[in-house]
């Protein structure tokens, strides 16, 4: 990263240190709710449901409780496996569909590729809520309510426009000469994509896949409307830990930690790529 200190805030060392400290302070404040959630996950209910306590006897009791299967309710294992399949398969489908689309929008642009790209993106402008009624009716008539399949289909549709858009910009960075050279060498389309293009766009592909995973894993609206009984995913499982009777803060926190952990870890690991993927890729 470049040093822009001088450019933006002007010189002195003291000032620079102060700004560093200020950034630290802001970051800690912004992160605090997450920290507090983790802390509460390790508390007894009695410690969580009282004036905020920083020091307490940590326990993993809440984690044991939320992961054990409560009678008749949506279980931890069930929700995680539903989410895993819905998110995993839809992300793979998105990539399988988006790669050829991105190819034909950038490397070998089809006629009117701009209109095609706009059409892809325009589907993203339709609020899901406007589509939910007919979706619900169609799903009911096809007997897809409360199945993993309906979520796989919808998550694929939901993430596809963004994926095409991002991948197109990554593909556009592949040097044209390289593609042409491989063509002269007699590589067919598949060979071109797998041996020339994919290695170059791999980081972009990872960023795109990660974003699809984040959006699908965190999706609540479609899941709760279409799969309230079976095939429920992790977000629904989290809300099932809110109870109107008795204390639930510690349990809810423990469940939240488990639910957010996969995506948070993935996001932390890939943050630099995400910066590129989100903006550089989207603009270039």
């Amino acid at each position: 990263m470049r040093d822009n200190t001088g450019a933006i805030v002007g010189g002195s060392r003291v000032k620079s240190t102060l700004l560093g400290l200020m950034t630290w302070a802001i970051a800690l404040i912004i992160f605090f709710p997450v920290f507090w959630m983790v802390l509460n996950g390790f508390k007894e209910e009695a410690d969580a449901n009282t004036n905020p306590k920083l020091f307490f006897d940590p326990t993993t009791a809440q984690f044991d409780e939320v992961t054990s299967n409560p009678a008749g309710l949506l279980g931890f294992g069930e929700a995680f496996s539903n989410s895993f399949w819905a998110v995993g398969i839809s992300t793979i489908l998105v990539l399988v569909l988006a790669i050829p689309a991105a190819y034909s929008l950038s490397i070998k642009p089809v006629a009117k590729w701009r209109d095609v790209l706009f059409f892809f993106i325009s589907t993203k402008f339709l609020p899901v809520v406007a589509a939910i009624l007919p979706l619900w009716i169609i799903a009911r008539d096809l007997e897809l309510l409360n199945t993993r399949l309906i979520l796989i289909i919808l998550y694929t549709a939901m993430n596809l426009p963004l994926a095409v858009w991002m991948l197109r910009s990554f593909f556009a960075e592949v040097p044209k000469e390289l593609v042409e050279a491989s063509q002269i060498d007699g590589a067919n389309l598949r060979g071109q994509i797998t041996s020339v293009i994919l290695p170059i766009v791999a980081p972009g592909l990872a960023a795109t896949a990660l974003l699809c995973v984040i959006f699908a894993w965190n999706e609540f609206f479609l899941a709760v409307q279409l799969n309230p009984v079976d095939g429920s995913t992790v977000p629904i499982w989290v809300t099932s830990n809110v109870s109107t009777r008795g204390n639930f803060l510690a349990k809810l926190s423990a469940a939240s930690v488990l639910a957010t952990l996969p995506v948070v870890l993935a996001g932390w690991a890939a943050q630099k790529r995400m910066i590129r993927g989100l903006a550089m890729g989207a603009i270039k």
């Binding site: 560093g20 992160f31 993106i121 325009s122 965190n218 609206f221 809110v242 639910a259």
Partner: protein, 271 residues
Amino acid sequence: MVTQVPFLFSLWYSLTDWTIVPPSPREFVGFDNYTSFFDNQFFREAVWTSILMTVFSVLLSVVFGTLLAILLDRKFFGQGFVRTLLITPFLIMPVVAGLIWNTQMFNSSFGVINWLLDAVGFERIEFVTRFPLASIVIVLVWQWTPFMMLISLAGLQGQDSSVLEAARVDGASSRAIFFEITLPALRPYLELGTLLGSIYLIQVFDHVDVITGGGPGSTNVPYFVYQRSIGGGWQFGQASAYSIVVVIASIIIANFGLRVLSNLLEGEAAA
């Protein structure tokens, strides 16, 4: 296709009087559903709430995100770690974010914010009950500031440092450099952030559901349509009419959005 076909169904349903529970035959009523809700006070409130919610959360997160990006785009101790802390809220599941803020930050008996207010001698405030819209906007801004920060950060890092160097050598003040060089260079990135943010934030459902459950003053249009249909109202004909209005509004916003995108592509072609 998956989103366009249902839309055509919606269009048809919106012209019918169709209540699922109790079941009633679907009747064609023409534009009654449309004329009836323009004077529906609750719908008008929902539209107003949607506008406020989207505008405030997008604007605030763009401003905060850009400021944080500027702070982060400098060398200081623990830079990578600080960036990691800052992006975390964007990765948190919206349902979890809403619940955690609601039960552990805003809550008047166990919430951290109220505990702090109490400690410095102020009265405890029932945030969610008294300021439902503001509470939701706070959580939205908390989640979307990191996203805007990432986009601005990419813009700042893509800046040509030789231009900055030249400006400094020419004796430009740091304020002038920021407003004359950095900000214009950031513009496409900020537009992109605003556009993406608006697309997602106009559709907010999860946060409303878990923070206020659509309490007074916090029902936005998506939540309103939900309440009128599968959320308990079961008036599919009328709810479809509402969602058609949402679509028309989206088309207007989308037009603006596509113009922004088109400018971005023009820029690419020129570059």
